[in-house]
């Protein structure tokens, strides 16, 4: 069964960058990539498709990353989903808050595509 990765970010370029980075996995392994442009869309997708790994931006319209993360972690059916928070916010509070909410990782922009690949592989046990 193929693994699903969801990218939630309102910035088109970042979404593209992540997509293009992760395309490599699509080719190599059985991985499907999905994208969402805001928190609500992302949450809907997570509920219906239950992806394995979510790259979640924090500052987004409609619903921010923290809320999405909290909602997912409070749902026993979705709890297993690995969430990597992505943000330009680099302050202590944010990091702690993210980890307390149950995110597996916290990556700050700008990130290295290779790092993203590496982390994704680890998270998906590829």
């Amino acid at each position: 069964m193929s693994k699903k990765i969801l990218i939630v970010d309102d910035e088109v370029h970042i979404k593209m960058l992540l997509e293009q980075t992760l395309e490599e996995l699509e080719d190599e392994f059985e991985v499907e990539l999905f994208t969402a442009s805001d928190g609500e869309e992302g949450l809907d997708f997570i509920r219906t498709e239950k992806p394995d790994l979510v790259f979640l931006d924090i500052m987004m319209p409609k619903m921010n990353g923290y809320e999405v993360c909290r909602t997912v972690m409070e749902d026993s059916e979705l709890k297993h989903i690995k969430i990597i928070l992505l943000t330009a916010k680099g302050q202590e509070v944010d990091r702690k808050q993210g980890l307390e909410l149950g995110a597996k990782m916290y990556m700050t922009k700008p990130f290295d595509p290779d790092e993203i690949l590496k982390v994704s592989k680890e998270m998906l046990d590829l």
């Binding site: 910035e11 330009a88 202590e92 916290y106 790092e115």
Partner: protein, 852 residues
């Protein structure tokens, strides 16, 4: 006469004296006069008697011879009528009395015969006649007999007394007349004297308007005039003095009201308290800040009117030796104030202070501005980082795709294509490097902005600069390896600890070291850490190009770089050294550089030795006999423990340390024994202040706190412990006789008298709850973690860093606790095997920005 009273005394005495003297004189005078009269009259009596006797004797010769008695009788009777004659008698030669004037008989005492030829006088006392002068005249030389005439001496005595009495009477009369005269003359002298004395009395009452109407030219008049002129001078003097005093008073009043006006018009709130934390002064701004209006709060305890934050400041300022303490306090109307408290000393030598001065400033606006700034920084950070992500990310993808998919497809024989490939690779490399540099710049700018705005978070604790230096040297080793540069580290032995944020200090050292490496192609960099006075001095000596004297003063300024930026490619952002300076200054140290162009340069920075947290406190407190400490070995063990935590050498399996805070020595001893028997290590403090320093120093696993204590009570101590990020996590068990113990802010409370079982149960429960602080191992090299701040919050004092392969040894030896595995190691490390050990929990640490 009341006003005469001072005179009457003198007058009475004078009168008495005069009376006595006069009396004596009078007595002597009259006595003498009477006596002389008496003598005179006695002589007269004698001659009178003699004359009578002789006349009788001559006239009686015939009669005697004829013995005609009756004729004799009649002749002597005739003499009896003369004054003073008492008796006359005539005797014949046979001594028979022929005639006599005695009635009825002649006394026998006179009958003897004298047998004298001549007249004789004798004084005798005759019964019934009193003293008489008996004059005996012979008749015919005694042949015919004798005539005796008796003169009455008693009459003389009567005369004597009469004269004496009369004289006395006359003298008395004279005396009285004199006295009246004296009295009036004394009166005449006394009146002006009384007047003078009244005048003097009024002068004494500072009544200089008094007049005196003595016009006489005598001594009294002179005295009066002298006094008058004296009073005029006094009056002038007093007037002058009064004017001066009034002037001075006016000045003081003006000064006071000036100061009062200053205090009243202070934009900041001012509160002055005495040693007992009672309010002595509150200015209007302060009243406005705390909604006190017109409440009379002077003399009351500060805690009645002010919030807890301010009161604890008032309390803590009492034990302040120098400097100020600050706190943020809530003001009325949802405002925030910053309170600054200092102690009042009258002069420096004084042991005790007069109390504390607290200034409160409304910083609501500043806080809002600050928040805006923080939001701005956060936004800028986001807005800059997002495009940087795209630039850097896409460039890397392009490079990858070109190298993987495009370049191999090109014609390997085409020289043009090969050149293009090379150029494209170069260009992309430049884009990546520049983008990375830009990212670094953004990070540095944000870093320095955060520090300058005071927004940076500092995780201060006791640490050894030796360790920091060692970590830093290790982490720049990679840079050295590429260049043939070697770093040598010299750390002085038994270096005192400093108090600071280790990751920030590593940042400083790494910055200095990498700067040195950057500007050197080969050679040795020497890094020395040693003590200098009350500082730890760190120096980094390189053998690079050095810095010219024209540039040396500016190297710590923002965006200044050594070298000609037009011709040389700048390396770095130009913010490294300013950030270093920010960090060092923040720690209370100094940073500077010395250099000779072409000979290399030396960067120095100092950090103050953590005196408050070093053994000094313990020693001085022990001197004061206030801490009941265990055996010396225990202290050494504890200190060894503290060192171990700091150096992170190995996991510590010592029993938890409990800090017992109680002012009652016997209870302290009892609790100590109790906890020791239960297998804990124990430290005892006798008041809140000592507890604070011990807690900061030893970071105990648990604190038991009495509430009622001298110097600093339990509530204040808990408040301080809770507001310090390093002691905030320590569970506090309140052990008290007060029933409102729960409100003191502890985690749990046990009421005195203590129930042993309940106490131990509570202690164990609290320790279990805080078990997370027991042990944790972090995989990897500490130096690679610039972010251990989070860990210090989770595991405040038990972090051990160790290489992956050593973890297994620890676990097999029975390690229980948390193992943190950085995410990039998660793949290469057998997590499953590790998590199979009981009591071991494995946590993956996020990497991300920390490995940029």
């Amino acid at each position: 006469m009341a006003a005469m009273s001072p005179m009457t005394g003198i007058f009475k005495r004078t009168f008495l004296l005069v009376f006595c003297v006069f009396g004596l004189i009078a007595a002597i005078t009259s006595g003498m006069a009477a006596y002389f009269l008496y003598e005179r009259m006695a002589d007269e009596f004698q001659s009178k008697g003699l004359a009578i006797a002789e006349s009788i004797a001559k006239g009686s010769q015939v009669v005697l011879l004829t013995e005609d008695a009756s004729a004799i009788q009649s002749s002597i009777d005739h003499f009896l009528g003369i004054e003073g004659v008492k008796y006359i008698f005539v005797m014949d030669s046979r001594n028979d009395v022929i005639a006599h004037t005695f009635v009825p008989v002649m006394p026998d005492a006179l009958r003897e015969r004298s047998g004298l030829r001549r007249s004789a006088v004798r004084e005798i006392d005759v019964q019934g006649y009193g003293p008489v002068m008996d004059i005996n005249a012979p008749i015919l030389e005694g042949v015919a007999g004798y005539v005796h005439v008796g003169m009455d001496m008693g009459l003389l005595e009567t005369y004597f007394w009469k004269v004496f009495a009369n004289m006395q009477l006359v003298l008395l009369g004279i005396f009285l007349a004199c006295m009246v005269a004296v009295y009036y003359s004394v009166q005449r002298i006394a009146r002006p004297l009384t007047e003078l004395s009244r005048y003097a009395a009024r002068l004494a009452k500072h009544d200089f308007s008094a007049e005196i109407d003595i016009v006489s030219e005598d001594e009294v008049g002179m005295l009066a005039r002298t006094m008058q002129s004296m009073s005029q001078e006094l009056s002038a003097l007093f007037g002058e003095m009064n004017a001066k005093v009034e002037k001075a008073t006016e000045e003081v009043r003006r000064n006071l009201s000036y100061r009062q006006a200053i205090i009243n018009n202070l934009a900041d709130g001012l509160l002055v308290t005495d040693r007992d934390a009672k309010i002595t002064l509150v200015n209007p701004a302060m009243r406005e800040y705390f909604d006190l209006r017109d409440l009379e709060c002077e003399g009351e305890l500060a805690e009645r009117y002010f919030p807890e934050e301010l009161v604890s400041l008032v309390v803590s300022v009492q034990s302040l030796k120098e400097g100020v303490v600050t706190a943020e306090v809530p003001l009325s109307g949802n405002r925030t104030g910053k309170a600054l408290a200092s102690r009042i000393w009258l002069d420096e030598t004084q042991e005790k202070s007069l109390g504390g001065v607290i200034l409160v400033r409304d910083i609501t606006h500043e806080k809002a501005l600050d928040r805006l700034k923080t939001e701005f920084i956060s936004t800028v950070s986001h807005e800059l980082r997002t495009p940087m992500t795209s630039v850097l990310g896409f460039t890397k993808i392009i490079r990858k795709k070109l190298e993987r998919d495009v370049f191999p497809e090109l014609d390997p024989d085409s020289e043009k294509a090969a050149r293009a490939v090379e150029q494209v690779q170069d260009n992309i490399g430049i884009i990546v490097t520049e983008a990375e540099r830009l990212t670094e710049l953004i990070n540095d700018v944000l870093d320095i902005a955060k520090m300058e705005s005071g927004k940076a978070q500092w995780r201060d604790r006791l640490l050894s600069m030796g360790d920091v230096a060692a970590h830093s040297v290790r982490s720049v080793r990679g840079m050295c390896a590429d260049k043939g540069v070697r770093v040598e580290l010299e750390v002085e032995e038994s270096l005192p600890m400093v108090f600071g944020d280790s990751s920030r200090l590593v940042q400083v050292m790494v910055n200095l070291l990498s700067n040195a490496i950057k500007f050197m192609d080969e050679g040795v960099i020497t890094c020395r850490v040693r003590r200098q006075d009350s500082f730890v001095l760190v120096s980094v000596v390189d053998q690079g190009a050095g810095i010219g004297p024209d540039q040396l003063p500016f190297i710590f300024e923002k965006f200044k770089q050594v070298g000609d930026t037009l011709t040389e490619k700048p390396q770095g952002t130009g913010l490294g050294l300013p950030i270093c300076r920010q960090i060092v200054t923040r720690h209370g140290g100094e940073i500077w550089a010395e250099s000779v162009a072409g000979m290399g340069s030396t960067f120095y920075f100092t950090l103050p030795i953590a005196e408050d947290f070093s053994e000094n406190v313990l020693v001085s407190d022990e001197k004061m006999n206030k801490i009941v400490c265990e055996e010396e070995t225990d202290i050494l063990m504890r200190e060894g423990q503290a060192m171990m935590v700091e150096t992170g050498e190995e996991a510590c399996d010592m029993p938890p340390l409990i800090l017992v805070v109680d002012d009652d020595p016997s209870l302290g001893k009892y609790l100590k024994q109790l906890f020791r028997d239960a297998g804990f290590r124990v430290l005892v403090a006798q008041n809140g202040r000592i507890a604070l320093s011990l807690a900061r120093q030893h970071l105990p696993s648990l604190i038991t706190m009495d509430l009622m204590m001298p110097e600093m009570d339990g509530k204040a101590a808990i408040h301080c412990l809770r507001s310090n990020p390093f002691t905030r996590h320590i569970p506090i068990l309140v052990v008290t006789a007060l029933s409102e113990a729960d409100s003191a802010g502890g985690d749990a409370a046990v009421l005195k008298p203590v129930d042993e079982e309940q106490l131990l149960e509570t202690v164990n429960a609290l320790l279990r709850d805080h078990d997370v602080s027991r042990s944790c191992i972090v995989l990897g090299d500490r130096a690679s973690y610039a972010f251990d701040d989070d860990l210090t919050v989770i595991c405040p004092n038990r972090i051990t860093f160790c290489p992956p392969d050593e973890v297994w040894d620890h676990v097999r030896e029975g390690f229980r606790g948390f193992v943190f595995v950085p995410s990039e190691m998660a793949g290469v490390f057998d997590l499953e095997a590790l998590s199979r050990f009981s009591g071991v929990q494995v946590l993956i640490l996020p990497g991300g920005e920390d490995y940029k």
